[in-house]
Subunit: 705 residues, 2 copies
């Protein structure tokens, strides 16, 4: 029996009754703690402690087992040793419990025996249609006043708000709750997913997508269970609700750390970056950034553009904020004439009226006046207010002015942030107005700028057209099917590679294979000079190491010379036996070299790659990766996002390259991999791209099946 | 009369007596505030309030003017309107006051009239040998218990410590004091330098260099007054004491903000970066980083290397710290067998014993045991201890263990940092041991990693050989002198350019200028094919825009064709009249293209540039700048620090390039600019660098005088 997901998650996050299985009398036990947290937070449903060895705990009747509880139980929280879990779960099944949270450790994270136990636990749950969180987690929490559930072992209960959070690390869960509470950042629900034996981040995403109490989703990820599903969900959710994620395991060392305590696969981080970029997830690097960005998204309208006005009472912090804006791609526009005129009337002459506006030692009323001008300034999308408490000024007065005007900004769709040097979280001391606006405050202006920039990036993502996978013409699937049916696993023969490309409408300079200098001369004659001579060998991979590529051969004499030279080198290196022949190809001196390809990742499946050819990709890491399949928007973005894009646009008097044709090439590769998933790796390196309208042609290619 | 600097700064920072000129009865006045701060902080010398209109303030006798004070006065703090300052300064001069701090605004920052007033003020001070801080500043502060001076208008007095701080922004000064106090970070002295009419950051650097109370120097800079002196001082100080600096004005917007409130010149930030790199100054981007890094430097030994062990009780934070290490070039080494063996005995089986070491839910004693093992592990240079308070564990116990072992780490020269998730500053609750060690704590592990990485960078700088400016052979100064004596200001003629390079031992492919196709053919014959044909014109700067460069011409036919084609294009573009002729040059197809040059910055003087040729520098910004003159170490670093350095090392089977000869080329350019400062700009673009031992040759060059 498979329940509908949201109903089951509802039982986990909004249960009417909870059994805590394993409530010890010992106050320093986890079970006791969870029970106490449910009581002290005044959970609005019923709580039943379960312990076969106690009658009464904290003055409340204890049941020897779940089956003894006289009422129905929606959720069971288990805090008993791993060995007792199966029996308890079985009993829950019989009782009709809808969901179980297993706090206890000793499962997949603890080795093979634990993994076996975990599999059995899942089997029991499946049999009874029970949804399971954990094992090895710290519990769940719901701040909705009509639920008010702290089913975690942290005594920290964060304020009610619209940010939902899932974490793959229990330890970070503790930190997150503490931080949210200290900063006054409101959460809706919080889930520590632990080993994710059943309920995964994906299930929670599906729930939060529908959950009216949740406006922003925060994730701490260490690995992806089902990246394809995650990508699909995230794409759908990002269109309406922002997802902010921190993912550890960027580095080999980080992956090792993440893997060692969850048993999760260390995935290629580049694929995660691609997934985040394609699905609109806001990836941040630190927990601090996670909160800073979520705070802005939870309380402020998305910045409509990149134009920021800075209002400060100190030049130094204003300058630092301006620097940070530039570093994050935000602009400081010139203010409108009306604003400048207004500021001139308003501010003392020593004030600086250009952006950043430095009101110097003027006070709360000048802040009000300047903010009102900026609210009406069409040149401005967002305002960062910096306030350094001078000797006698009252921070509260300035904070009150900002809060007072925040609804005006909200109404105009302008983002308003503040940096009260030292104060983190939200401006306090005033209620959040009906519009839901509150003004996030940052201890340092640089953090405000970072958070604003990421919110702007997210809005840019939302404004993008929703991509589609276009129908491509001139595709001959059957021809490729036939070639692959007859191919042996491994690198395909050159003729097959070029035939496959041709069948998918990808133009290439198919080379002529020759095995003697006379054949070479004939082939060159047929192609027309200049030509290129290339060594063909299945075992000599880096041809250049043996001088195996000679470009721009302009005459038969030069060809003969190059051919003989190459044979000599191979002979003296003792590698002649590995040579399958020589390839003669037409020399293409025009055009810009790019590379395109497909690589395979065990977790993410095919990854699509694009970069500039030559040494750019290798030396400058100037390449971009996306997850298969590509939409037309993905393809366009790939080509635009390499640093060397300027080369394609036409650099230093050279004509612009045929960019649409590169985008189409990427889409054709994506279609090829969609149709033939047995293609494990595909390299087009290089592809020559010609001036706009003249297309491109693949110069060298290989395919692994 | 010029006093010796340190004596004069002594009067500013360690005065025996202070007159506060302009102490108003109004409690909300700046003058009153400063007077109160001196009293409430129990300044150990004498304080005399001055106000012609009051007899007694706060129960203390007030003097109508400085001249009425019956005792000698070392320092006068002035808080009177700008118009009264000159008279007051004059009076101070007569009285024999040694130093003045002018808090008042209304000077250079306020326009021409104020600038004039400031010049007059400086003149008065010079006449009497008075040193002046400000005007337009927030004062100075000395935490030394035998001084205990708060001569600022901030009521915040930070704890006593060994960090000295100078700030060019008063507003940031307020923030800095507050932040230092909140984090418990100890300062020695603090100076808000304001308009720097007399005492500059340079003067303070000289003082702090000698000051035994100061171990670390923090700077907030907006501009450089005298960068050459700053560089010289900073280089000398960095060899012993670290300087950590944040400089605003990185961006155009930031410069505008910084300039508008101090009147400082907006300098090219790239030059500042070069200056910091060459002098060992640790440049950080944010105030938070400024404190984080200074905190580590003030309390911990410098990390001897990059090998970091992470000790955590939560896998998630450990993984995030590991990622941050990798991002900042720190390593997580394998731990020694002894450590692994010890951890196996010590920790529960579910713990992860590889680096990062995750002790899971073990407690203070396990932290102690693990730390002792890591203290003795020769594979480890630094340890970051992460502690997430679990439900029942006591943070204080773990903190006590860390503090307890900190002396052991200090004795072994190992850096020890902690992240107590949420606790910033230093671990509290235990006295700083005699060794001066205390354990900095960070709210998030990523910040600890960042600070550690910068301390490591600084130690790498200190370990570098101290560079020297080598004597170069084959230099013919007189020949260049003669050329420049006869040259007109502007771009030099090609023949002069190549003669100058030759005189400084720089090999180039001097071209042959021709004005007809026959001359071209003769020149090519003499040089030998292949050749290059280049348009020569003083006004057509971007030759490639007109197809003005044809490479690899292999025969007289090709040369004639290229010549005719170029003339045709110029004719049809109507630019023929601007052509001075054509240059024929030997074609060099071998070698890697680099560029080298000198640019001129108004503040910093000559800037030396190096990068890879072609589009690398322009498209990837892969170039490096240093300030003139270069030491041999600078030259080596320049060549090594471009991203494309791998190309020079030998990439993909190509032989390594002649790197020493590039370094020498840079030193020769530096010598040329030293000898002939009238050279405003010099471009060698490109220079072809050949395989090791084969030198390099300049292909194109221009010089502006």
């Amino acid at each position: 029996m498979i329940q509908d997901i949201n109903g089951a998650i509802e039982a986990l996050l909004r249960p009417n009754s909870i059994a805590v299985i394993g409530v010890s009398r010992r106050e320093d036990s986890i079970g006791h703690k969870i029970f106490q947290n449910l009581l002290s937070q005044s959970f609005k449903g019923r709580v039943f402690p379960v312990n076969p060895k106690a009658d009464v705990i904290s003055g409340i009747k204890v049941y020897p087992s779940v089956s003894h509880i006289p009422e129905s139980v929606d959720l069971a929280v288990m805090v008993i040793p791993a060995d007792y879990i199966l029996d308890a779960a079985e009993e829950c099944g019989v009782k009709g419990v809808k969901a179980i949270i297993v706090i206890s450790a000793g499962f997949a994270e603890a080795g093979n025996k634990g993994a076996e136990l975990q599999r059995k636990l899942v089997a029991v749950c499946r049999r009874y249609g029970i949804r399971l969180i954990g094992p090895n987690c710290m519990g769940v929490l719901n701040t909705d006043p009509i639920v008010s559930m702290n089913a975690t072992f942290s005594h920290v209960f964060p304020p009610h708000g619209n940010i939902a959070m899932a974490t793959q690390s229990g330890a970070l869960g503790l930190v997150i709750l503490e931080y949210a509470k200290n900063l006054g950042i409101g959460l809706s629900t919080f889930v520590s997913v632990g080993n994710r034996a059943d309920v995964s981040s994906n299930d929670l995403l599906e729930y939060w997508c529908q959950d009216p109490a949740t406006g922003v989703i925060m994730l701490y990820l260490e690995s992806f269970g089902n990246p394809k599903k995650f990508a699909r969900l995230a794409r759908a959710i990002s269109a309406n609700k922002p997802i902010v994620a921190v993912k550890s395991g960027r580095s080999a060392a980080g992956s090792r750390a993440a893997a060692s305590h969850t048993g999760a696969l260390a995935t290629v981080d580049i694929a995660a970056d691609a997934l985040f970029a394609q699905t609109g997830i806001i990836r941040v690097d630190t927990l601090e950034q996670l909160f800073d960005v979520s705070n802005v998204l939870a309380h402020q309208p998305l910045p409509r553009g990149s134009r920021v006005a800075i209002l400060t009472n100190g030049g130094g912090p204003g300058a630092m904020a301006a620097d940070a804006c530039t570093a994050h791609g935000l602009e400081l526009p010139a203010l409108s004439d009306a604003t400048l005129e207004g500021l001139k009337m308003l501010l003392p002459s020593r004030a600086s009226r250009t952006n950043p506006v430095d009101i110097t030692d003027a006070g709360a009323e000048e802040y009000r006046g300047a903010l009102m001008l900026l609210a009406d300034d069409d040149n401005v999308d967002a305002v960062i207010v910096i306030f350094i408490p001078p000797v006698f000024a009252r921070s509260e007065d300035v904070a009150a002015v900002i809060m007072d005007l925040s609804t005006e900004f909200y109404r105009r769709g302008k983002t308003l942030l503040s940096s009260f040097m030292g104060q983190r979280g939200c401006l306090s001391g005033s209620p959040i107005p009906a519009g839901g606006s509150s003004v996030p405050s940052f201890a340092f202006p640089e953090s405000a700028v970072y958070a604003l920039a990421r919110a702007r990036d997210y809005n840019l993502y939302r404004q993008k057209p929703c991509g589609m996978i276009p129908e491509l013409k001139d595709i001959d699937r059957e021809r490729v099917q036939k070639i692959l049916d007859n191919a042996l696993p491994g690198w395909l023969l050159a003729k097959d590679v070029y035939a496959i490309l041709d069948a998918y409408g990808i133009r290439s300079l198919a080379p002529t294979l020759v095995t003697s200098v006379d054949e070479a001369l004939n082939a060159a004659q047929a192609l027309g000079y200049p030509v290129v001579l290339k060594l063909d060998s299945a075992t000599i991979i880096h041809k250049t190491d043996f001088g195996g590529v000679v470009l721009d051969i302009r005459s038969p004499q030069e060809l003969r010379q190059a051919y003989d030279m190459m044979m000599q080198r191979l002979t003296s290196a003792g590698r002649l036996a590995e040579v399958d022949g020589m390839n003669i190809q037409k020399m293409v001196s025009q055009g810009i070299e790019v590379i395109a390809g497909v690589a395979h990742d065990d977790v993410f499946g095919p990854l699509m790659l694009f970069g500039l050819g030559g040494i750019y990709t290798e030396l400058f890491k100037d390449a971009v990766t996306r997850i298969h399949p590509l939409t037309d928007v993905d393809a366009t973005e790939m080509v635009h996002s390499v640093k060397a894009y300027k080369l394609l646009e036409g650099f230093r008097g050279s004509p612009p390259a045929d960019i649409p044709v590169i985008e189409e090439l990427l889409l054709r590769l994506s279609a090829l991999v969609t149709d033939f998933p047995q293609i494990k790796e595909l390299d087009l390196n290089p592809v020559k791209v010609f001036a706009a309208g003249n297309g491109c042609t693949v110069v060298d290619a290989r395919i692994l099946v």
